[in-house]
Point group: C2
Chain length 327, copies 2
């Protein structure tokens, strides 16, 4: 049974795979780590079962978009079991895992990988009286000083950050944020000045040739933030339809009712899909409306995009939905 948080964890997993003869792998959890582990194992020739608590894999997406990931994973030969809780992990007489047990079934396993999420490790900080938020992460100001403590700085996976779209604190364990925190803290400690204004919640991942991306708010995030919205979904292609290698992608876009402000984008597709989410990340940061987005001057040439980039196609449909909603 393996977690995969550190380089050491990864090496231990490789050692187990090397010395284990059986080819049945069960992954518990279907978030970034879970689907990436499923990819790694299927590419090594394992029979892979992913056991997932949520309705669909990738709970960082809305379930309708997670459904696309589910279907693609099934198409890759990964067995995907959703909407179920693991109750027990069985161990054989040799002390090694033998099965993963859920409320409904038992999945024999030669190797089990846990990808069940992370929480900030802030026990020491809490014991020292430092402030933590709803998710247990340290609370800092925009210069990454721990709130109320002039001489203590914090960054990386142990802090909560401001979500610029919802206005709420979030905990996001991503290397790209940790790196920015380090740069900001270094500047400030060294007598310079820098801030980390917050995040819009961009993330991108892949499982085999399927690219999965999101930024901003899902439907449930928007509701929790008190926002009313319209949601649209479109299909488009990564290149002009007639160009060799054009690959399908699905784009879902949320826009605020009345104002038409962009609230979030989710993308599931093949090569060239994932990083398109960056356009929406910048638009979110700038507070653009979907109508403003329809005029964006995005790079066009047949090997790179249809004449209307998929993001623009989604924005146009969102404009129509905002208008219809106002009528």
């Amino acid at each position: 049974m393996h977690g995969v948080q550190t380089l050491g964890d990864g090496q231990a997993l490789i050692d187990t795979l090397t010395r284990t003869e059986g080819r049945r792998a069960v992954v518990v959890g279907a978030g970034y780590i879970g689907v990436e582990m499923a990819e790694a194992l299927i590419q090594r020739g394992y029979d892979v079962t992913v056991v997932n608590r949520g309705k669909e894999p990738m709970s960082t997406l809305d379930p309708d978009m997670g459904r696309l990931v589910h279907e693609a994973m099934t198409g890759m030969g990964i067995e995907m079991v959703n909407d179920t809780e693991v109750t027990k992990i069985l161990t054989g007489e040799d002390g090694r895992v033998s099965a993963v047990v859920t409320e409904e079934a038992e999945y024999p396993a030669d190797v089990v990988i846990l990808g069940v999420g992370v929480r900030p490790e802030t026990e020491l900080a809490r014991a020292a009286g430092l402030p933590v938020g709803e998710y247990g992460g340290l609370l800092t100001d925009l210069a990454m000083r721990v709130r109320g403590h002039e001489d203590i700085w914090a960054g990386g996976d142990c802090v909560e950050v401001l979500d610029l779209v919802s206005g709420r604190q979030r905990h996001i364990a991503l290397g790209t944020h940790a790196n920015k925190h380090g740069q900001v803290i270094g500047s400030n400690v060294g007598g310079g000045y820098a801030t980390f204004p917050g995040v819009v919640g961009t993330a991108v991942s892949k499982v085999c040739d399927l690219e999965i991306a999101r930024t901003g708010l899902r439907e449930r995030d928007a509701l929790a933030a008190g926002l009313r919205f319209v949601a649209v979904t479109i299909e488009s292609t990564s290149r002009a339809g007639y160009y060799p290698g054009a690959a399908l992608m699905t784009v879902k876009m949320l826009a605020e009712r009345r104002t038409g402000r962009l609230l979030g984008v989710q993308i599931v597709g093949r090569e060239g899909a994932g990083k398109r989410v960056d356009v929406a990340a910048v638009a979110l940061t700038a507070g653009m409306t979907v109508e403003q987005m329809t005029a964006l001057d995005l790079g066009y040439a047949p090997p790179f995009s249809p004449v209307w980039d998929p993001i623009l196609v989604a924005a146009r449909k969102a404009v129509a939905a905002v208008r219809a909603d106002a009528d």
Copy 2:
């Protein structure tokens, strides 16, 4: 001798290639059309020479970035002749082209392709007294009405558009703009309301596996617009450095002196480089500074980007340059 403006031109070229035995092709011009034709011909097994008036190919880039395109084309086996004027195109007794003559040399040719740019065809409009701009394109208002003519609308390659970065009119013959014009005109003529606010000058192209992208102002555009700037260039990779398939890319960024406002980005690289320019296109539209850009929440995962996306690496260097310039 072939121009390549229309589908018919393309078919005529293919017909010529099919019935011509010789394998020597000369392309006149090294802009988008020129380099794309060079790609098509080299892939068909021709000996390709590109004869170019400019110092480097792709005059839509600054010459230091065009130099990278030059080197890559040479590496692909394309002969690149810069800084020269074509004085004559010779024809044999059979009436077919035989050579391209420049001030310095003569290049034997079995086929000659002209990729020497386009100009708006507005003769009829001018004869009718409609207003045209510096580049000969029709001038419209933001709703795409011809200026001073309530009932005449114009869009596509025959109009000039507002460059949102320089504040000047430009002529850009791109299908993506023409499509947006059509949508705006259709809305307005149909009793709705839409505008085309302008462009930031985004363009993306490729020659074999080299991707070439730009948005905003080149150095000479900025100077012509009365803007003072700092320019930085960085090298980075399309994926995390350790990830299979990580490919080098060079990013050049211009920022305004004092304000640090982003003015332009140019990218030359391999797969995954070109469409990264879209992030800069949105940032330009939003009027962001390079310092604001360093905090952008762009998608990160090792198959998609280094932990600092190349655009962010360039923005950080530009921030340092703006500061150093202010000192």
